[in-house]
C-alpha cells in the first residue's frame, strides 16, 4: 500500500476551461449573430438553447401541450436527457466538471483559500449548514412552478449563469447581475455557494447520487483515517465516515479519490462493485 501526498489531476481543470471557453464563445457568437457578424464554424445558439436546465423547466409545458417555454426549444430537452443519463451513470459530473458557473466559483475560491486558509469553506456552523443545503430544492420547486404557470423563463431575472456570459450584452436583468455578484463574492468565503444552496439544476442532478451506477466508494480496510478526503471535498462531505458517498450534494469532482487527494492507493474509488463495502459493513 503506497501513500504519498497527491494533488488532483489536470484533466478536470482542462475540461472546465474548455467548457467555460466554449459556452462563453457560444454566448458571444449569439450576440454577434444578431447583428449578422457571427464567427463561422462556431455554434451561435442562444444560452437558453444550450442549457440542460431549460429542459427541466419546460418539461411540464412540453408534456401537457407539446410546446416549449418561451426562448427554449428541443435542444434543451435533448441536453437534459443526456445530462440525466450521464448523472445516472457517474453522478452530477456536469456540476463538477462541466458547469462554467461552478468552475468560476471554484477558481475564485482558490483566492479565498489562500486568504482564509483552514477557515475557508467552514464559515457556516455545520448544524445550520446541514439544513441550508436543502434550500436549493425550494428554489427548484419555485422555478418549476412559476415557469409552468406563466410559460415564461421567470428564473432568467435572477439567473447568475446567464448573467455570467451575457453581462456585457445589456440584456441581463439587474436581479441576475446582483445574484452573480453576490455568488462570486461569497465564493471567496465558501466553495461553490450557488451550487450548495441555490442551484436548482444541481438539486435535480444531486438526486442521482442516491442510485448512480458508478459510485464513489471508500475501502475502510485500507483507509488510514487521515481525513484528507473530507478536506478535499468542496461540498464539505465527510467521505471518511461513509463507505459509499450517497450525499445529494456530491458533484462528482473526484477530488476525494485515490487518483486525486486520497493518499492511499485503491482506497477511494469510482466503482460499480458492492462487494467490498458489504464485507466491511457487516
Amino acid at each position: 500500500m503506497g501513500t504519498k501526498q497527491k494533488k488532483e489531476s489536470k484533466t478536470r481543470l482542462i475540461i472546465q476551461i474548455i467548457f467555460f471557453s466554449l459556452v462563453g464563445l457560444i454566448a458571444f457568437n449569439h450576440i454577434l449573430e444578431e447583428s449578422g457578424k457571427a464567427i463561422p464554424f462556431l455554434a451561435s445558439a442562444s444560452m437558453h438553447a444550450v442549457c440542460p436546465f431549460g429542459g427541466v423547466v419546460t418539461l411540464y409545458q412540453f408534456i401537457t401541450t407539446g410546446t416549449f417555454v418561451q426562448k427554449l426549444n428541443q435542444s434543451s430537452i435533448v441536453l437534459m436527457t443526456i445530462s440525466l443519463f450521464i448523472a445516472v451513470l457517474f453522478g452530477p459530473i456536469i456540476c463538477g466538471w462541466i458547469c462554467p458557473l461552478g468552475s468560476v466559483q471554484e477558481w475564485i475560491g482558490k483566492i479565498g483559500k489562500k486568504v482564509f486558509k483552514n477557515k475557508y469553506n467552514n464559515f457556516i456552523p455545520a448544524k445550520l449548514d446541514k439544513y441550508l443545503r436543502y434550500t436549493r430544492y425550494g428554489v427548484l420547486a419555485w422555478v418549476v412552478y412559476v415557469t409552468a404557470t406563466t410559460g415564461k423563463l421567470i428564473f432568467l431575472d435572477v439567473d447568475p449563469y446567464y448573467a455570467l456570459f451575457n453581462f456585457y450584452s445589456g440584456e441581463v436583468a439587474i436581479g441576475s447581475l446582483i445574484i452573480l455578484a453576490i455568488t462570486l463574492l461569497i465564493s471567496l468565503l465558501i466553495e461553490r455557494p450557488w451550487c450548495k444552496y441555490a442551484c436548482p439544476y444541481g438539486a435535480v442532478l444531486g438526486i442521482s447520487n442516491l442510485f448512480r451506477v458508478f459510485k464513489i466508494k471508500r475501502n475502510p480496510s485500507t483507509c488510514i483515517s487521515c481525513n484528507i478526503c473530507d478536506k478535499a471535498c468542496p461540498m464539505n462531505i465527510e467521505v471518511s465516515k461513509v463507505n459509499t458517498v450517497k450525499n445529494h450534494q456530491c458533484i462528482s469532482c473526484m477530488k476525494c479519490t485515490s487518483e486525486a487527494y486520497c493518499p492511499v492507493k485503491n482506497t477511494v474509488e469510482i466503482t460499480t462493485s458492492n462487494k467490498e463495502v458489504k464485507y466491511n459493513e457487516n
Partner: protein
C-alpha cells in the same frame, strides 16, 4: 467494475457529443429560439410599446410584422426583396448578404430604423444606417416625417436599381414542400398562417411539433388532400 477518471471523462465526452450528433441527425437538436418577442419600451411617452432597438438579426420579416404591425408587403417593398424569396422566412441578418454588393450596408439596423419611422417610435439612428428609396417612398406616403428625419433620409437613401441582389440560401426546394415528416411548425415556417391551417384542417391548431401526416391519420383526414391544400398555400406565398 472500477473506472479511472480519464476513462470516465472520455465516456462523458462520447455520450455528450454522441447524444448531440445522434439527436441532430434525427432533427431533434433544434436550437432556434421559439420566442421572438422584442422587449418593450420601459418608460416615457411610448412605454409599453415594442422597442425597435430590440429587433434582432435573427428575427424574420414575419416576426417584425407580427410585433410591430408593419404589413409584410410594406417590408417586402421597402427592402426591395425579390419575388423568388420566401419573405416570411427571410431574417433581418440575411439582408446584409442579399445586398452585399451595395456600397452602403442594408441590414438589421436598416430594419430597426425603418420600423421606428414607420411606427413613430424613438430610435437612435447611427450614421451608417441607410434605407432604399422604396422604403423612403412608403414612409413619405404613410408617415408624417419630421424635417430632421427628411433631411437625414436625403443623404441616406440608396436607389433600388443601384444595388445588385445576391443569391442567398434562405430556403431550399425541399424545404418548400410538405412531406411525410413535415410538422405543423414546418407549415408555419413556410409562411402559412395559423388561421389558414385551422381553416384547412377544419379544427383548432394542434401542437406545432405534431407531424401533419400523423395528425391526419389520427383525425381520419385524407393526408394527400390536406397536403395538397397546404402546398397550394405555399405556392400562393411564393
Amino acid at each position: 467494475m472500477k473506472i479511472k477518471q480519464s476513462t470516465m471523462a472520455i465516456a462523458v465526452g462520447v455520450i455528450l457529443v454522441g447524444g448531440i450528433l445522434a439527436s441532430g441527425s434525427m432533427n431533434l437538436f433544434d436550437t432556434s429560439c421559439t420566442d421572438k418577442e422584442p422587449a418593450k419600451i420601459s418608460e416615457g411617452e411610448f412605454q409599453g410599446q415594442y422597442n425597435p432597438e430590440e429587433i434582432k438579426g435573427s428575427y424574420t420579416f414575419e416576426n417584425v410584422s407580427q410585433y410591430f404591425e408593419v404589413p409584410i408587403e410594406d417590408l417586402t417593398y421597402a427592402f426591395n426583396i425579390p419575388q423568388d424569396i420566401n419573405v416570411s422566412e427571410l431574417k433581418n441578418k440575411d439582408l446584409k448578404a442579399l445586398f452585399e454588393d451595395s456600397a452602403f450596408e442594408i441590414g438589421n439596423g436598416s430594419v430597426k430604423y425603418f420600423v421606428s419611422l414607420y411606427k413613430g417610435l424613438p430610435y437612435e439612428v447611427s450614421e451608417d444606417t441607410y434605407l432604399f428609396e422604396s422604403a423612403v417612398e412608403i414612409l413619405k406616403d404613410k408617415v408624417n416625417l419630421s424635417e430632421e428625419q427628411v433631411k437625414y433620409l436625403e443623404t441616406h437613401t440608396i436607389k433600388n436599381d443601384e444595388v445588385v441582389v445576391s443569391n442567398i440560401d434562405t430556403s431550399t426546394e425541399e424545404e418548400n414542400t410538405i412531406n411525410g415528416q413535415s410538422t405543423f411548425k414546418d407549415a408555419l415556417q413556410l409562411g402559412i398562417t395559423e388561421e389558414k391551417i385551422e381553416e384547412i384542417i377544419n379544427d383548432d391548431m394542434p401542437s406545432d411539433i405534431i407531424s401533419i401526416k400523423d395528425y391526419c391519420e389520427d383525425k381520419g383526414l385524407s393526408y394527400s388532400e390536406i397536403k395538397g391544400l397546404l402546398e397550394e398555400e405555399v405556392n400562393k406565398i411564393n
